[in-house]
Structure formats: C-alpha cells, structure tokens
C-alpha cells in the first residue's frame, strides 16, 4: 500500500490544481483560510475577479506590513488592497451576488463532503461557540461550488463519505472536490473520479474514501508542480 502521507499533495499544490479550473474573467469567492491560497496560483494570462462577502469586488493581495487599512479587509478580516476596477457595496447587495447566481465559482474547505453533494464545513457538532458566517450562503447560488481539502482527516478518517455525519452547511451543493490525492466530481449522487496521483492505485484511493469512487471514462494523472 502506498504511503499516503509522503505521496499526497501539499495544501499549496491542492490550491494550485483548483486554480487551473478558474476561467479567464471568472467571478470567484474563496472561503476564508485555506481556500484563500487559490488566488496565489491564478493561471498566467487569465484574470479572475475576487468577491468578498463584506462588500468588495476585485480586491488584490495583502498590503505590505504596516500599510494596512483596517477598513479595507476581506471576509477573513485580513487587510487587502484594491485592483483597478474595484467596487464597494453593502452586505445585502454582496449576498445578492452570492445567492443570485452571479459568482462563477466558490471554493470552500470541508470537514466532510458526501457523494450526494452535501457539505459539512461549519460545525464540528461538539458544542462550544457555533459560528456560521457566509458559508451557508456561499454554497447556494455560485454557478460552481468546489471544495479543496485533504483527502482524509488528521486521524486518517475519510472526508469523502456516503452521508455527512456532521451538521450540514448545504444540501446537494458541491460539484467538484480537489483533494490531496485526487480530483473527484459529484454527478447524480455519485463520486466520479477524474484525476488521481499516479503513485496511488485506485484500490488504495478507494480504501481511504468513504463512498464508492465511480469512473466514467479515463482517470487522468493528477499532475502538479513542486511549490
């Protein structure tokens, strides 16, 4: 059996792979935390426009330290800059963009993704202080909702499952999952394997996946650069 820990992609590599599917001119929302990394790997020659829930379209990277304007932040409350063509708007207009189907892609993290497209990414269900933010809005409305995630949890449990065990963020909303081992589409309530690392066998991949991986045509090698 493959040593998954030494084979798997880094978060940067997962983000890079997800970035390859963002088309020129796309309006994109990246969830706070890990998904924000996708912006770093925007494909040369393509221009994506990033939306943040708190009311900016077309923001750019963080300013240099000491140059922050704390009224100019993203949904993760990190300081950002503006690109030429940026716009400010209030929260209701911002979520009109989200719910109204105006974003081309939303890329989110996950605790669990089910073969039904259900996503759990907001609550571990273990008590403490619950906090949802914009996650439940983002899973509805974007033309394409994708997840980037390690293929398994820190304890090795599958994150791609038949049914989510944690509180749901949304029902039947995810259509593609970029993991540390594979690229998997969700179609008709099934996981359909599109790409996998060449170093891992289909059997080994299935062994760390909590639901059946279907194939529908050839499975490509998941090839990413060193990063």
């Amino acid at each position: 059996m493959t040593d998954i820990a030494s084979t798997k992609l880094s978060n940067a590599q997962i983000a890079w792979r997800a970035a390859q599917d963002i088309e020129d001119g796309a309006y994109v929302n990246l969830g706070i935390g890990f998904p924000e990394m996708v912006a770093r790997y925007q494909v040369e020659g393509r221009q994506a426009i990033y939306h943040t829930e708190n009311g900016i379209l077309d923001f750019g990277p963080a300013p240099t330290e000491g140059e922050e304007d704390w009224d100019l932040i993203n949904a993760g409350k990190k300081a950002v800059t503006l690109n030429p063509g940026a716009a400010f708007f209030h929260h209701a207009d911002s979520f009109a963009m989200v719910r109204g189907g105006h974003l081309d892609v939303a890329i989110l993290g996950a605790f669990e993704v089910a073969e039904t497209g259900d996503l759990a990414n907001w609550s571990t269900g273990r008590g403490g202080v619950p906090a949802v933010g914009g996650a439940m809005d983002l899973v509805h409305g974007a033309k394409r909702v994708a997840v980037i995630t390690d293929h398994v949890t820190k304890t090795g449990a599958p994150k791609l499952v038949e049914r989510c065990s944690l509180p749901l963020t949304g029902v039947a909303c995810v259509t593609r999952v970029y993991t540390s081992l594979a690229v998997v589409d969700i179609e008709g309530g099934r996981f359909v394997l599109r790409e996998k690392l060449a170093a891992i066998s289909l059997g080994d991949l299935q062994a760390v996946t909590g639901a059946t991986l279907h194939t529908d045509g050839p499975v490509a090698d998941l090839i990413v650069p060193e990063l």
Partner: protein, 235 residues
Amino acid sequence: MDKTVASPADAVADIPDGASVMIGGFGGSGAPIELIHALIDAGPKNLTVINNNAGNGQVGLAAMIEAGMVAKLICSFPKSKDPRAFTERYLAGGIELELVPQGTLAERIRAGGAGIPAFYTPTSFGTDLAQDKPTAEFDGRGYVQERWLKADYSLVKAETADRHGNLTYRAAGRNFGPLMCAAAAVSIVQATRIVAPGEIDPEQVVTPGIFVKRLVRVEAPQQEEELNRAEAVYP
C-alpha cells in the same frame, strides 16, 4: 477583461424569438433608446417585455410594440401622453398585459437578481391585483406573496461604465437599471462613456461589474422625451 462590444446591433444580435427582455427606464428617463432601436432592427418576435411603462409616441418601446415584436408586457403603468401603440394592440387583444404595482415590480426584479424566489408585501393586499395570489398574516397584518422576476436579457442605459462593467447612471435615469442588470441572464448596457478600470472611484460605483455582461458605447444617447417632443418616428 473587456465587456465592450462594437455596436448596439452586435449587443442585441443573439436575442431570439420568445425571449424575455427587461428594459430600463421610467417613461423616457433612462430609456435605452439605441439598444431598443437596434433590437427593432434585429426584429425578434413574441417577446415578453418587462418595463415600468408601455411606451410613448412612436420611438423606443412604443415602436417595438408597433413593430409587433411584443407578445406580453409586464408593467405598472401602461399609460403615457401618447400610448396609442400599446393601447390599440391591447384593446384588440393583440398583446397580453400583466399589471404589477410599481413597488412590487421593482421588488420582484430585485428579488430575481438577489436569489429570493418569493417574498411578502402589504402592497395590493385585499385588491383585485392580489387575486389568485397566496396571502399570509404576519403580526396581525395581511400580506401578498409575490414571486421573483427574471429575464433572459436586459437593456439598460448607464452614464459611465468601465470595461469591467462597473456603472454609474444619470439623475433619475437610474430607476430600474441596477435591478435589471442583476435580474437578467444577459444584461446589455449602453453607456455614454466607457473608461478604463480604476477610473470610476470604487465608492461611487452604483452597479458593480459582476451584474453586467455586455457594454456598448453610445456617445450621444437620444432621450425619449426629446424624441417625442420632436415627433420622431422609428424606424
């Protein structure tokens, strides 16, 4: 990114027979005359048009109705100084009318762009215009359920646009423009000026570019009211 197309004709060329088309403007204020006239030249039939009014005189929406392109009109006030194009067809049974209170029309279009499939409003409760609509009581008051309104296309008149589609408007010409840009699958905007991204202050953008699909520059736009005062006829 550059959403500019070469001409009004190019901008509307793919609008097919049977399409739903929102058209901005309140009376002549904000009416995208050049886009409407380009659509008349293209000549698709059997359109459903959403506009506050029903045209005035023999230009713009009135000319479009006169050309027999409009099968159904969704509007709040199908009257004007010279409403003959609509009135004659309507009284002859040649055009379907869905009459919607003005605020409900605006809110339904806003809901269409905002992903809100239905909402409740006090407007029209207990009146003929609420017939056959679901009602509900909230905190002891009666309300009517209204559905979102979306369209395949919208035609909107802006003042300044940047190439990403960020827009400003001119005076009360703003009216339905921001709402219709958001509520149509393909929003088509004519602007007096098209500038480089960054030339509109981000604080002053009225319609963010995400709501705009196509832009066309119309440098010296015609004003419907002025055309009517000059008794213009299109085509």
